[in-house]
């Protein structure tokens, strides 16, 4: 219980630190929000009035906490470029980025665990070696190039999807999912290769330990030892990795969205950076950062459930 409280406290502190960082970063931008709203030709008096109205004259920490408070209640300000609330801009795009991330994550798990098990069980077979080498090659392909290759092979040669033909979830959910399979694949394959490699090395090093010999000597079959004893321990470092991967996938989807022209958070973020639409940039960065921190918390908790050695003190 104490450990959980401590984790929760660290979580809160990290959220505060990160949001403070995001807030400070955007405070430092030359030219303030009032100028951005009124344009550079505004009179000093009008600017002063606007600053007063927007609350920019209040002390720093008051502004930070009021920003944070309204952020958590869903008020993320108004977009400079479109004049609509940031919240409404982000709400419609959240399902897109979330679905893409989840699909990619499921693919990583589904691909890497069986392959990792296979290649550690039959490490001397030629096929296991082929998996090793191709994994190494796949890992060095930059995600956006892999996206382009996937577009070329599946979209243009095999005609399995229409590149650029994204369909939104509220129009046709089936088509939405079937379009996202390919970008998800482009995100998932290199991560799956990494997690396969990790699972394999982890299983191989676990298998050398004494408890495995004991388990065999008590008459357990190979399958029993592998699944009931070794896997439980070997999967722990892989879970850390998967947690980090989930965070990476969230960030990686920003790039892949650009390759496949998916109108999710990534494209919005990039275009908002180009347009200097800071409220949007600030909101997206803060949301993604919080998702990442939350995932880290989940990973920590999962550990404690899986590994009794970490419980207690």
């Amino acid at each position: 219980m104490k450990a959980v409280l401590k984790k929760l406290l660290t979580f809160i502190i990290t959220v505060l630190l990160v949001t403070l960082f995001v807030f400070v970063a955007f405070e430092m931008i030359p030219g303030d929000a009032a100028t951005a709203r009124l344009g550079i030709n505004a009179t000093p008096e009008a600017l002063e009035k606007m600053r007063e109205e927007m609350g920019l004259t209040r002390p720093f920490f008051v502004r930070y906490f009021s920003w944070l408070g309204s952020f958590f209640f869903g008020d993320m300000g108004v977009s400079y470029s479109y004049g609509v609330s940031v919240r409404s801009m982000l709400a419609s795009k959240l399902p897109i980025t979330l679905t893409l991330t989840l699909m990619a994550f499921i693919m990583v798990v589904v691909l890497s665990i069986p392959i990792g098990l296979y290649s550690s069980k039959y490490e001397d077979r030629v096929f296991a070696k082929v998996i090793d080498v191709s994994g190494q090659l796949v890992m060095s392909i930059p995600p956006f190039f892999l996206g382009i290759l996937v577009t070329y092979v599946f979209g243009m040669l095999l005609h399995m999807f229409t590149p650029g033909g994204f369909v939104s979830y509220d129009i046709n959910f089936g088509k939405f999912i079937s379009y996202l399979i390919f970008p998800a694949l482009a995100i998932a394959v290199p991560k799956a290769a990494m997690s396969t490699k990790l699972l394999k090395t982890s299983i191989l090093s676990e298998r050398r330990l004494d408890y495995v010999r004991t388990a065999y000597s008590r008459g357990n079959s190979t399958m029993d030892v592998l699944y009931k004893h070794v896997l439980k321990n070997a999967v722990i470092p892989v879970i850390t990795f998967l947690g980090m991967t989930l965070a990476d996938i969230v960030a990686g989807s920003l790039v892949i969205e650009q390759v496949f022209s998916i109108p999710g958070y990534g494209r919005l973020l990039i275009s908002s950076i180009a347009n200097r639409d800071y409220p949007v940039v600030q909101a997206i960065i803060a949301i993604i950062a919080m998702i990442v921190i939350f995932i880290n918390l989940l990973v920590d908790v999962t550990y404690q459930v899986l590994d009794p050695r970490l419980r207690g003190n």
């Binding site: 930059p142 577009t151 965070a247 993604i288």
Partner: protein, 270 residues
């Protein structure tokens, strides 16, 4: 000769990685020095020309020689990576050495801060910096450089903490060596093997980060070219001229593969 074969067999990653890097560097340097074409010179008659003795890799959508562009783009990417890693390593060593050697409250605060930064996906931080500083070659270098400091600082710190308790440091102290001398003359040379492998891996990440940012259009700005930028230009012609995208992408992938193999190999040796 036999000795070399033995060493290659013992650590094939390192030698294969080094070989890939040497070949890629040779291709890029030859292109920069010997290519007769101006990488920005357009030639309407050579639009999407096939590879030929005159244009070894063909031409792009403006009839610019692809080999000349690829080598200048590769050189830009590598230059950014070197500069970025340089910033990261220098500041990483200074911060890591001071915190690891002295410890204390400053160390605690800096490391908590470090953890918070490292918890962020790096591309996201790079985007924050770019939206603050604006895009362009030098701004990319500064953004990525700052981003690389924490990971180097952490590695250097843990090595300094380990070494500062070893006998040779104690004897140096007994002989009256000052703190700075101990840090930079005695400890630093001993952590170079560890630092070297992480520098190479950092280099790999820098190439990837620069390429992603330029691909997204927020890194290197035209008229400068970099591999990531070229790839995003090539994507538009993927259907009609797939070789443009594939040549550019494979170049990036080979550079990354070379450095990641070399880094793995050096880690094994360290």
């Amino acid at each position: 000769m036999k000795n070399l074969m033995f060493r290659i067999r013992k650590n094939p990653e390192m030698y294969i990685g080094a070989a890939i890097i040497v070949v890629m560097l040779a291709i890029i340097i030859c292109g920069v020095i010997f290519s007769p074409y101006d990488p920005d010179a357009m030639d309407a008659s050579a639009k999407f020309a096939d590879p030929s003795p005159a244009h070894p890799m063909g031409c792009d959508n403006f009839g610019r020689d692809l080999y000349a562009r690829l080598s200048i783009g590769g050189a830009t990417t590598l230059f950014i990576a070197v500069a970025t890693v340089f910033i990261g390593v220098i500041f990483g060593i200074i911060i890591g050495a001071l915190t690891g050697y002295y410890g204390g409250v400053v160390d605690e605060i800096l490391m908590r801060f470090n953890d918070a930064v490292l918890a962020f996906p790096s591309i996201l931080l790079a985007l924050v910096f770019i939206s603050l500083f604006g895009s362009g070659t030098f701004k990319v270098i500064i953004s990525l450089g700052i981003l690389f400091i924490p990971s180097f600082a952490r590695i250097v710190r843990s090595e300094f903490m380990r070494c500062s308790k070893l006998d040779y440091v104690r004897s140096a102290r007994l002989m009256g060596a000052g703190d700075l001398r101990i840090m930079f003359v005695h400890i630093l040379p001993n952590i170079i093997p560890v630092l070297l492998s992480s520098t190479v891996i950092g280099f790999n990440n820098a190439v990837l980060a620069e390429a992603s940012m330029s691909f997204l259009g927020i890194g290197v700005q035209p008229p400068s070219s970099s591999l990531g930028r070229m790839l995003s230009e090539a994507q538009a012609f993927l259907f009609s001229e797939p070789s443009y995208a594939i040549i550019t992408g494979v170049t990036i992938a080979l550079i990354v593969l070379g450095f990641s193999l070399l880094g793995d190999g050096l880690k094994k040796n360290a």
